[in-house]
């Protein structure tokens, strides 16, 4: 097995003094032809910069390689040091020798050209194909990335395709040049979990077919467990641990690797669920009964109502005091709309939402996904925390300030935060601020809409711990909206699975996650990357979420439920 890529003592710096602002501080690794190296780390670890140095794209981001060598074995057998190569030479290497796919497929594709034209261009530039030959090659490339009706899809524009489809188009374009090394920079982070599984399976199959080496960058160590041969764990610009996949996963040497494997949530099929709290006997504090939210769709010249998007269609559940009910589902499943309807941010078309008046006038509070967008940048923390109290008619006095300080300290921030502005805090700290703000009025229920999804994995773990502590201390009930099964497993007492606007399965967390009954739940859980299941094979599955646009007057058939065990209900699937 020959070495394809050798990186030795790589240093990369940014800014005017790259030597002083090093982001990568001496990374070395070797990659054999046809093998996959996973670089795992959190934001700021230097993992992306390391990978972007391999094809010198880092130059365009203002980075400079200050020390080290990157030796690439070219297809014709010659070796080239990429750190010393000039731009024309690099242009020949990029694309032809080293392909790259990025995190966000929408921004990587040109919105004004059809995907067919873009793939054809890749073939024209890299293989010199033209006319009908290029079109045929493009169609074959789409077929190779398992896109159904490839000939039709060539005429589509990027916005007409789903995120997973777009990422496959990107892969098809990269494959046009038949690269010997593929760099994948978090290619599935923006995708739903079942789509992520499809892309991962596709990459694994293509790697076999084309004998392509791969550098896979991710923050999720569980995701690469099934695909990598070697693994390199990075922290603060240094490779803290590297070696064979099994050796690193089964016998980690460095504390940080152990932390990533243990402290960070990993999905374990319902074995890591909470054993504390949750009291099914008590009367519910929030009751949702037959909730439906529909958004009208207008068509034609006269904007006549032609139908409606059934975002939420007939959802019922109870939330009991002190328990966490997690609503899981993929994008478009209606989980966020359900949360927003409970807070009154969207109007329910039908159904009943009842929140028992609890300790304060507003028993339900909410924490949003993006801690950057949910705090007004021009207000100090004091003004931000005072807002719920002002809204409730309280005065900003010493007593209120005392509560602010108490809550700030409770969420792990100090008193001097009060006079600071949101941009002076990190993402995790901002989310703590949002949590403190939601607790200002002493609510009974907190709705957490993807509240930890935007955070780095270790920060995520600490915020989850904080949430569990606060739940005990203040007797809070959480409605926890998430797409991340690993996170849900850590915090939920009960889980509701939503699919296409409806709950398909609801019950105790251990039962739903450990012994899923509904076919969608099964599919969802099978798609979750997990270290312990890394040797299982996942085949490419091209099931698409059905359209939620229904004609006017459409009513879904009444749901029939089956009891699958104590506190575990499954929607009976209609046989088509």
């Amino acid at each position: 097995m020959s070495t394809l890529l050798g990186v030795h003592d790589l240093h990369v710096g940014f800014g005017r003094d790259p030597q002083d602002n090093e982001v990568v501080k001496g990374v070395s690794f070797e990659l054999a032809a046809g093998k996959t190296l996973a670089i795992v780390g959190e934001s700021g670890s230097g993992k992306s910069v390391t990978a972007l140095s391999v094809n010198r794209l880092v130059d365009f981001g203002g980075g400079r390689i200050t020390r080290g060598t990157i030796t690439l074995q070219r297809a014709d057998g010659t070796a080239v040091d990429i750190t010393a190569a000039d731009e024309p030479a690099l242009q020949r290497i990029r694309g032809r020798e080293i392909g790259m796919i990025f995190q966000e497929p929408m921004t990587s594709l040109n919105p004004v050209h059809t995907v067919g034209a873009q793939i054809e261009e890749a073939f024209r530039l890299n293989r010199g194909l033209g006319g009908a030959a290029a079109t045929r090659a493009a169609r074959e490339a789409l077929e190779r990335v398992r896109i159904p009706d490839a000939a039709q899809r060539l005429k589509y524009y990027p916005h007409q395709l789903s995120g997973g489809m777009r990422q496959r188009v990107m892969i098809a374009m990269v494959l046009a040049s038949n690269p010997r090394l593929l760099i994948a920079d978090e290619p599935t982070t923006a995708l739903d979990v079942t789509v992520q599984a499809q892309i991962m399976a596709l990459l694994a199959e293509l790697r076999e077919e084309l004998d392509m080496a791969m550098i896979f960058i991710t923050h999720d160590i569980g995701l690469v467990a099934g695909i990598a041969d070697d693994i390199m764990v990075m922290q603060h610009g240094v490779a803290v641990e590297q070696g064979k996949l099994d050796a690193v996963l089964d016998n980690p040497q460095h504390d940080y690797t152990r932390h990533l494997l243990k402290a960070v949530p990993h999905f374990t099929s319902g074995r890591a669920v909470r054993s504390d709290g949750g009291s099914p006997a008590v009367a519910p504090i929030v009751t949702v009964d037959n909730l439906a939210v529909r958004f009208p769709v207008a068509k034609g010249l006269f904007r006549r109502r032609s139908g409606a998007v059934h975002a939420v269609d007939g959802v019922d559940f109870d939330l009991r005091p002190g328990e966490t009910l997690a609503i899981v589902g993929e994008s478009g499943s209606g989980k966020s709309t359900t949360a927003r309807a409970i807070l009154g941010l969207v109007k329910a078309t039908r159904g009943r939402i009842e929140a028992k008046a609890g300790r304060s006038g507003r028993p339900v509070q909410m924490v949003f996904q993006d801690p950057y967008a949910s705090l007004n940048p021009r207000l100090t923390v004091e003004a931000l925390l005072a807002e719920p109290a002002i809204a409730a008619g309280q005065r900003v006095d010493a007593k209120l300030r005392q509560r602010m300080v108490f809550l700030l300290e409770r969420v792990g921030l100090t008193k001097d935060a009060l006079s600071r502005y949101p941009h002076q805090f990190s993402g995790g700290q901002r989310q703590r601020l949002c949590i403190a703000r939601a607790l200002m009025l002493n609510p009974d229920v907190v709705v957490l809409d993807e509240a930890v999804s935007a955070l780095d994995v270790s920060v995520q773990a600490r915020v989850l711990e904080l949430l569990i502590d606060l739940q005990h201390e203040f007797g809070l009930a959480y409605l926890f909206i998430s797409h991340d099964m690993a996170v849900v497993e850590r915090i939920a007492h009960r889980v509701a699975v939503m699919y296409a606007g409806q709950i398909v399965e609801i019950g105790k967390a251990a039962a739903v996650l450990g012994a899923p009954q509904h076919s969608y739940t099964k599919r969802l859980i099978a798609a979750v990357p997990a270290i312990e299941r890394r040797r299982q094979h996942f085949s490419v599955d091209v099931t698409q979420v059905p359209s939620l646009v229904r004609p006017s007057g459409f009513e879904p058939p009444a749901a029939r439920w089956r009891e699958a065990g104590e506190d575990h209900r499954v929607r009976v699937e209609e046989v088509a």
Partner: protein, 279 residues
């Protein structure tokens, strides 16, 4: 204060601020009577003298000191500019804010009215107002104020629409914050940056419009020396005593340059992207 320091650090901000400050000082001195000569007194023997040690910028047909008149004229023109922009900024911001907040029908109605106003040249609108209330300072202020209202409405509405959909506004709704609180703390506070820039630029435009109105005799009336009035009086003597036209013209040009430079500097300083870079 931090803003002022940032303006002084910005190269074009420094020049702009210096020009505007100089004019403001001159206008203030003129207003309290600290002029070299009485601006309205006619020195009959010294009619149409060129610039000299006694009459720095020369004298006009009636023997009045141009420099003293200019000091008063700057005051008069600036006063009209500031007053009209104050009206336009207040009315325009409120209209834009409410159009964005209420949305739908109100948005349509308010913004279409703004579009109609935007279609009128300032001079035409002023003619209409002159027909109603006669020429004068108040006419200028009203006309210019109305003409620039739609610009502020547009400048306020676009970011207000974006802010309205931001998560912190949604969060405020979940707390049950009052509309007034959301409009002032969450929307208006975040609009200050674009509005500040527009105000500076609008001051430059309104100064020009004011001069135009007075030049046509629709604004300030002689003997009150606004910059436009001085230009109008000098036009018949352009070839014999060019200084009469030169100095008011230069003053208008410099003042507009000053406001524009200041506006550019504020735009750079208040841009969130440059702020982030500094943070």
């Amino acid at each position: 204060m931090a803003l002022l320091r940032a303006v002084m650090r910005h190269p074009s901000g420094r020049i702009g601020a210096a020009i505007i400050a100089l004019f403001l000082i001159l206008a203030l001195m003129g207003a309290v009577g600290l002029t070299p000569h009485d601006p309205l007194k006619q020195f009959v023997v010294d009619r149409m003298k060129g610039p000299s040690g006694t009459y720095w910028f020369g004298t006009d047909l009636l023997g009045r000191d141009t420099f003293s008149r200019l000091m008063l004229g700057i005051g008069e023109s600036f006063l009209i500019a500031f007053a009209s922009v104050a009206i336009a900024a207040t009315a325009g911001t409120l209209i834009g804010l409410f159009a964005a907040w209420w949305g739908h029908l109100w948005d349509g109605i308010l913004m279409r009215i703004m579009d109609v106003l935007l279609a009128f040249p300032a001079i035409l609108l002023a003619l209409l107002i002159v027909a109603i209330q006669g020429p004068g300072v108040m006419t200028s202020i009203t006309a210019i104020g109305i003409v620039y209202t739609p610009i502020f409405a547009r400048v306020a509405r676009a970011p207000a629409l974006a802010l309205k959909a931001r998560e912190f506004v949604e969060a405020a709704r979940t707390f049950g914050s009052t509309q007034r609180y959301i409009l002032t703390r969450h929307l208006l506070l975040n609009l200050i940056a674009p509005l500040t820039v527009t105000i500076t630029l609008a001051l430059a435009w309104s100064l020009l419009t004011e001069s135009g109105l007075s030049f046509l005799g629709l604004g300030s009336q002689p003997p009150a020396p606004s910059l436009g009035v001085m230009l109008a009086e000098s036009k018949s003597m352009m070839t014999r005593s060019p200084w009469l036209m030169l100095f008011p013209g230069l003053t208008i040009m410099l003042a507009i340059l000053g406001f524009n430079l200041l506006g550019d500097a504020l735009r750079d300083i208040l841009d969130p992207r440059t702020q982030e870079r500094r943070a």
